[in-house]
């Protein structure tokens, strides 16, 4: 443990750590944002068209069984991206996160009580606006719960990319391991945990902002 101050005392190391941290944020959060959008669209499709639901559920079952490391390396072979391109990790994590979010979104949309949609319609809401103004906001708590799980899991999965040359903070683990040097490994673990915690806090704040009625004790 005494190594950590020594390790962190080097300005170059600190700069490299910041760069890895930013890489990590980028690699884990871009998939999160993309999959929120995808999951809302797909969730809506599932909600409106039953057959889509069955297909997507089986697909997400399959996606989940593929080890992340394999998926990272398979993507370039399947869609022709370059082997070291960060986009491989981003696409893989987007697949996992979308698979995680679609079902809860669809269920949350289905769970909106019919009297609420009926009142909205009666108030003159057109279907598209009713979706954005009524159904989607009511699905936010469930979506947020899924997003929080997704963010934690993405942040921890990005590290695996270090084994194929795109790993954000994960490279600290492989490098530290080769040098038998605990300091970078410990710093990497701590930074990952702090990142996960900070992102989670932000997500909770965001959720509370988007669902003021929950705090007010109101029920949909």
């Amino acid at each position: 443990m005494g190594d950590i101050p020594k390790y962190l005392s080097d300005a170059g190391t600190r700069a490299a750590l910041l760069e890895k941290l930013l890489d990590h944020v980028y690699l884990s959060l871009v998939p999160l944002v993309v999959s929120i959008v995808l999951a809302i669209v797909l969730g809506l499709l599932c909600h409106r068209f039953r057959p889509v639901n069955a297909v997507l559920v089986s697909l997400s079952n399959v996606v989940y069984t593929i080890p992340s490391l394999a998926l990272f390396a398979l993507i370039p072979a399947m869609i022709g991206t370059r082997v070291l391109d960060p986009v491989n990790v981003i696409i893989a994590l987007t697949l996992y996160t979308t698979a995680l979010l679609v079902r809860p979104v669809a269920e949350a949309l289905a769970a909106v009580p019919s009297h609420i949609t009926a009142s909205a319609t009666a108030m003159g809401f057109r279907p598209w606006r009713r979706f954005l103004a009524v159904e989607l906001p009511l699905a936010v708590p469930v979506l947020a719960a899924g997003v929080r799980v997704g963010s934690v899991s993405n942040i921890s999965l990005v590290s695996v990319g270090a084994l194929i040359g795109t790993g954000g903070l994960g490279t600290l683990f492989t490098d530290g391991f080769q040098q038998r040097y605990l300091a970078p490994i410990i710093v990497g673990i701590v930074l990952t945990l702090v990142l996960a915690l900070v992102v989670d806090l932000v997500l909770v704040l965001l959720r509370n902002r988007l669902t003021p009625w929950v705090r007010a004790g109101g029920k949909p």
């Binding site: 997400s60 079952n61 069984t65 929080r148 799980v149 921890s156 683990f173 492989t174 490994i185």
Partner: protein, 249 residues
Amino acid sequence: MIFADAFGWLLDPANWSGGKSIPVRIGIHLLYCFGAVLGAALIAVPLGLFVGHTGRGGLVLVGGSNALRALPTLGLVTFLYLVVGGSTVSVLISLVVLAVPPILAGTYAGVQDVDRGVVDAARGMGMTGAQRLWQVEVPNAMPLLVGGLRNAMLQVVATASVAAFVGVETLGRPLLDGIRVLDYPQFVGGAILIALLAVVLDAVLAVVGRLVVPAGVRLSARTGKARPGSAASRRREVPTPVESGGSTA
């Protein structure tokens, strides 16, 4: 094309005999997975039952188990290897740490979700705390508990491949070795095996789950919305406690 080559690798007789054959690796992979899930269950189930039953420490538990989820396995396994020494021990501990949160979440949520009316009725009938736990709460918690176990197993099966980084002969070996040298048949073949193993183990646990869930509970679960067997229903069993712990974060 890639997949055809991968099947070629899978069917190559050379990969089916000797000390590094596919069956041997599947066996080792299974040992690690079952060892880890068993170890995690021994820790997480009693803890989840205790907290769920007494209602004490719920926030600490959820917060702690969320933090565990964020622990990167590659970091943990390299850390443990350098500190504890020995691949087997460090891989096992890492996988146990990975498996604890979902089992804990499932157990805790299972006990928590038991209809308060049912528990009160049990109390009214004069059941003691222990009787309520074993005769009412545990049977009712079974579906979610088994869900937690299945979820843990899925994660462990996939992650045991990353753990091969510190040198164990799991199915992660062909995956890691194949990726380093871009030997697609080898690593896609390895990935297919891991995916198949995940599906098979999940199905086995689903059957086991059906056997241990009492008929009455099964009936009410079916009329409810939980549909055991789909990924999303498993996943949904994870977010629930996360959601309930939301206020802590």
